[in-house]
């Protein structure tokens, strides 16, 4: 069993959200020549850490199995890209099914956190 991380089960949501944002912004910035834009595992990990001001920290032990699981579920697709130094990176991109799932997960997250906050305030 992977050990529980600090993300409280929100890892899938964060990854999907990041990839969804990244996808739309880069598509806008680089126009139609952007054939395949995505992030590799390390970039996703770093992005989560930086954007959360180093509050949230993903472990590799959770991240890669999660990525592979979401790939199997069809929410993500992966492609190998060759970098300048000849190494290959596995780059992930969100799919249509992934966007749909993101919608569900985001709504649910908002509902849950709102409910939790309400309780925290009232109690």
């Amino acid at each position: 069993m992977p050990k529980p991380d600090s993300l409280l089960g929100s890892l899938d949501l964060l990854v999907l959200k990041l990839l969804a944002r990244r996808d739309s912004t880069s598509a806008q910035a680089e126009g139609r020549c952007a054939r395949f834009q995505g992030m590799h595992g390390y970039a996703i990990m770093t992005a989560i850490r930086e954007m959360s001001d180093e509050v949230l920290d993903v472990e590799e032990g959770s991240l890669y199995p999660a990525l592979h699981r979401m790939e199997e579920a069809g929410w993500l697709k992966a492609e190998w890209t060759v970098r300048d130094n000849g190494r290959r990176s596995r780059v992930y991109q969100i799919t249509a099914a992934g966007r749909k799932q993101l919608g569900h997960a985001e709504t649910r997250w908002q509902a849950v956190t709102a409910a939790v906050n309400r309780i925290l305030k009232m109690a």
Partner: protein, 871 residues
């Protein structure tokens, strides 16, 4: 899509592992840390492939390694199973083609043949008569016309001489008469032109049109579309026009032979109004729900028809057939077609199927024993697997996959064997002149059978070892102290079953071989060697007696010909005439046989005359007759009948008086099985102008008389150009035709007996060998304590030999119980004959001793010191 990916990933496991490794390396290269990389890799792998399939795949790889490690055992298992599966598939192909496969028509399950029960006067056995005359067919058709369709379908395999050009270019083609609505009712479509319709079948001889089969169209015309409108002449007289080609796959209804051309029944013009001429089978297409009503109506119609018929039949004839006007009528299923071959070979084929099933069981028991012995050797491995957490089902899966692999290998090999052997066996049934043409496709039915069999077999022989392997107790096995007795009990039981089946197969083979032996050594009463027979046709007229004699004379003048004579037909050729005869007003019952012969026939056939003389030239039917010995004993008792006279039947139900001029020694006329019947030989020549067909019987001084056939054929043609040889055969072929079925059964059952014996011997060897290896320590201790080699031998073999005796007893009981199923196929032999019983017992005993020898020697040679030191 995703499932597909996961299945695909099972087969690129290495690549998958490398990918995950590379991704993690990339992570590190970016500056990240990777803790517990193996854990990540494993977790990711399980996500990305199908774990159950992965387990199967690794079992297959492991199983393959195991099979390769024990090459000898694997080869023994695969070959014995392949032989059994191949034979079973081959038998299935034959049984399916002859008995099961539905005709390729619209409603095969509604098809029946109308049959009436009759008792064969000579053999006293009841049988079904499925022939009909045209008037009776008409009455049956009209009686049920609202509920069912009655059709007339001629006998298939009816070989005719036809020509598309000059009369010198005759060729053989087989004809089938069909009533006009047959193609319509069968729902068949033309591949070209049109099919026969009821309009073609209205007036006798009116429309000489023919439809050819697709097979014939392909074979003879290379699918030439110009074939429509071509004409051919049949037998030198009728000119047929080809109007169509019937759709592919339909080659008539006579399973076992194929029809080349179909003509309307009205083309047999002379037979249409003949009430006593039965020349086709009455078929009926009737839906299930109205079958009983229809059957009753048919019975009434047939009874009515027979009442009418009785008025014109002589009284003594009716006396011989009691209840002629109260027929027992049955609708015999004709889904798979109807043929004489089915009638002759149904039982032999089913028996062979049974024998092969037994051999299959023996092979399964064998492989089960081999696998059990192997599983025992692997007890430790299994125990280890259990200790590190393998579940019971996982172990069963492991062993079953191994058995399945053996079965698959065996099925592939067996399939190749069946591919070759089914047509080979069909070829063995060939009677001369009329080749068997059995449609033997290797389609989904055969494929389904073979793979179903493989599955069944792998479960049959794999399940016990699998179950045993899975129930291993690690603590006991790892210590080396499993309960060995339990395993041996199972193996012994399998040996007993094997021996029982083997005994049964041997008993059957003994019976069939003895039958063939006795039948083919049955004295025929004439000397067939060196005799050639030529069937002659005179084109479109009757040849005069002078012309027939001229042809015979020309043949006699050829070098290599010793003597030549003329007869209605050769003995044992399948032709037979029985007619009424009476002595002093007393009619012979059953009716005696008749044969027309020319002077010199007895000397040519080398049948001695024991009283009187041969016919003289110029003597005519019905004035004189020669009878056989049986005729004399049946009618005159003893004494010399020469000079007495008999009343014999002449055309138009009249009688004539014949003077007996000679008595001939008994000779076989119909077949080899029946007791010799009273026979009357009469002169070929009669007051008629001549004869349109007959046979030349030629004695040559050649060991192979067929080498003279071409020369004699040409001689006939040269002498009289309108005399034509339609067929030649040796007299030996006519005789051998009557043992084809017995020879086939004897050969195949002997073959399977040998296979069964080898398998049983291998099985016995395997079990004994295993038990010696397993009891090495025990034997060592016994020897150390002073046991003599004889004691050791007894100790090792007594269990197995007890099984042998038990199995043989069981096989004997089974054999005696099943004898009545094969009784009708046997001849002058019974399962209770001592010799028949002794042969399998002795063979089995000898085989058992040979199989037991190597392991027993091994046991005796065990060195106590060494045996005790190990472990």
């Amino acid at each position: 899509m995703s499932m597909w990916n996961r299945i695909r990933n099972v087969f690129r496991r290495e690549a998958l592992a490398r990918e995950i490794e590379e991704e993690l390396a990339d992570h590190r290269a970016h500056g990240g840390r990777v803790e517990r990389p193996l854990h990540i890799a494993e977790e990711s792998r399980d996500i990305r492939l199908a774990p159950w399939l992965d387990a199967v795949a690794s079992d297959v790889v492991f199983g393959w390694r195991q099979l390769r490690k024990n090459r000898a055992v694997t080869a023994a298992a695969v070959v014995s199973l392949a032989l059994a599966i191949g034979s079973a598939t081959s038998a299935f192909r034959l049984i399916d083609a002859l008995l099961l496969r539905p005709l390729p028509v619209a409603n095969p399950s509604d098809l029946y043949v109308i049959a009436t029960e009759f008792t064969d006067q000579h053999t006293k056995t009841k049988d079904w008569d499925d022939s009909s005359s045209y008037p009776m067919f008409r009455e049956m058709r009209d009686a049920v016309k609202d509920q069912a369709k009655v059709m007339a379908l001629g006998y298939g395999g009816n070989r005719q001489d036809i020509t598309f050009g000059a009369d010198t270019d005759m060729e053989k083609a087989s004809k089938q008469y069909v009533s006009g609505d047959v193609f319509l009712i069968f729902g068949l479509k033309p591949a070209l032109g049109r099919l026969l319709t009821p309009a073609d079948d209205l007036k006798p001889g009116a429309r000489p049109v023919a439809v050819i089969s697709y097979d014939y169209w392909t074979r003879r015309f290379g699918r030439d579309p110009q074939v429509i409108g071509k004409t051919f002449r049949e037998g030198g007289t009728v000119l047929y026009e080809i109007v169509g080609v019937v759709q592919e796959g339909f080659t008539g209804t006579e399973t076992g032979s194929t029809t080349d051309y179909f003509v309307p029944t009205m083309q047999n013009a002379r037979a249409i109004e003949e009430r006593q001429w039965s020349w086709f089978r009455p078929w009926i297409s009737v839906p299930e729900e109205s079958r009983l009503v229809v059957k009753e109506k048919l019975r009434a119609a047939i009874a009515n028809h027979r009442k009418e018929l009785m008025r014109s039949l002589p009284e003594h004839f009716l006396k011989s057939i009691p209840n002629f006007d109260k027929p027992v009528v049955e609708l015999l299923p004709a889904t798979a077609g109807v043929s004489g071959m089915q009638r002759d070979f149904r039982r032999p084929l089913l028996i062979l199927g049974g024998v092969i099933l037994l051999v299959l069981f023996i092979a399964c028991a064998n492989v089960a024993n081999l696998m059990t012995a192997q599983a025992a050797a692997r007890a430790r491995e299994m125990a280890l697997r259990v200790s590190i957490g393998a579940g019971r089902w996982r172990l069963i899966q492991l062993v079953l996959i191994e058995s399945a692999m053996v079965a698959v290998l065996a099925t592939i090999l067996g399939g190749l064997f069946a591919w070759w052997s089914a047509p080979f066996v069909a070829g063995l049934i060939n009677p001369p002149d009329n080749p068997v043409r059995l449609v033997l496709p290797a389609d989904w039915r055969v494929l389904g059978f073979a793979s179903g069999l493989a599955l069944l077999v792998s479960i049959l022989f794999g399940l016990t070892p699998a179950w045993k392997a899975s129930s291993v107790k690690p603590s006991a096995a790892l210590k080396g102290g499993d309960d060995p007795q339990a395993r041996r009990r199972l193996m012994n039981a399998l040996v007993a079953a094997q021996v029982a089946f083997c005994f049964l197969v041997h008993l059957g083979a003994g019976l069939f071989v003895a039958t063939f032996d006795r039948l083919s050594n049955q004295p025929v009463g004439f000397d067939p060697s060196g005799v050639l027979t030529l069937d002659l046709d005179v084109r479109g007229r009757e040849g005069t007696w002078a012309e027939w004699n001229e042809v015979a004379e020309a043949i006699r003048a050829r070098s290599g010909v010793e003597s030549a004579t003329i007869a209605g037909w050769p003995l044992m050729s399948g032709n037979l005439r029985s007619a009424s005869a009476s002595v002093n007003g007393l009619h012979l019952h059953p009716l005696p046989y008749f044969l027309e012969i020319a002077p010199g026939w007895f000397s040519t056939m080398r049948i001695p005359l024991i009283e009187g003389r041969d016919f003289r030239p110029g003597e005519r039917f019905p004035n004189v007759a020669i009878v056989n010995e049986t005729f004399v004993t049946k009618t005159f008792g003893s004494g010399n009948p020469v000079g007495k006279s008999i009343e014999i039947e002449v055309p138009r139900n009249k009688t004539g008086r014949a003077l007996i001029v000679g008595v001939a020694r008994d000779a076989r006329y119909r077949n080899l099985r029946e007791t010799i019947q009273p026979t009357v030989y009469v002169p070929l020549e009669s007051d008629k102008a001549g004869k349109s067909w007959g046979s030349l019987i030629v004695r040559t001084n050649f060991a192979k008389p067929e080498s003279l056939a071409t020369d004699l054929r040409a001689t006939v043609n040269r002498t009289r150009s309108d005399f034509r040889v339609s067929n030649t055969a040796t007299q030996l072929e006519h005789v051998r035709k009557h043992t084809i079925r017995e020879r086939l059964l004897a050969m195949l059952s002997l073959f399977f007996a040998v296979v069964a014996l080898i398998l049983a011997a291998v099985g016995l060897y395997g079990v004994l060998n295993y038990s010696v290896i397993q009891r090495r320590r025990e034997i060592g201790i016994r020897m150390a304590l002073g046991a003599q080699p004889a004691d050791v031998v007894r100790k090792v073999t007594q269990e197995v030999f007890a099984m042998l005796i038990l199995g043989a007893g069981l096989g004997l009981a089974l054999g005696l119980a099943s004898e009545r199923y094969v009784e009708t196929l046997l001849f002058q032999v019974k399962a209770t004959d001592l010799r028949v019983l002794l042969t399998p017992a002795v063979t089995l005993a000898v085989a058992a001793i040979f199989a037991a020898l190597p392991p027993t020697l091994r046991a005796v040679r065990i060195d106590p010191a060494e045996a005790l030191r190990s472990e």
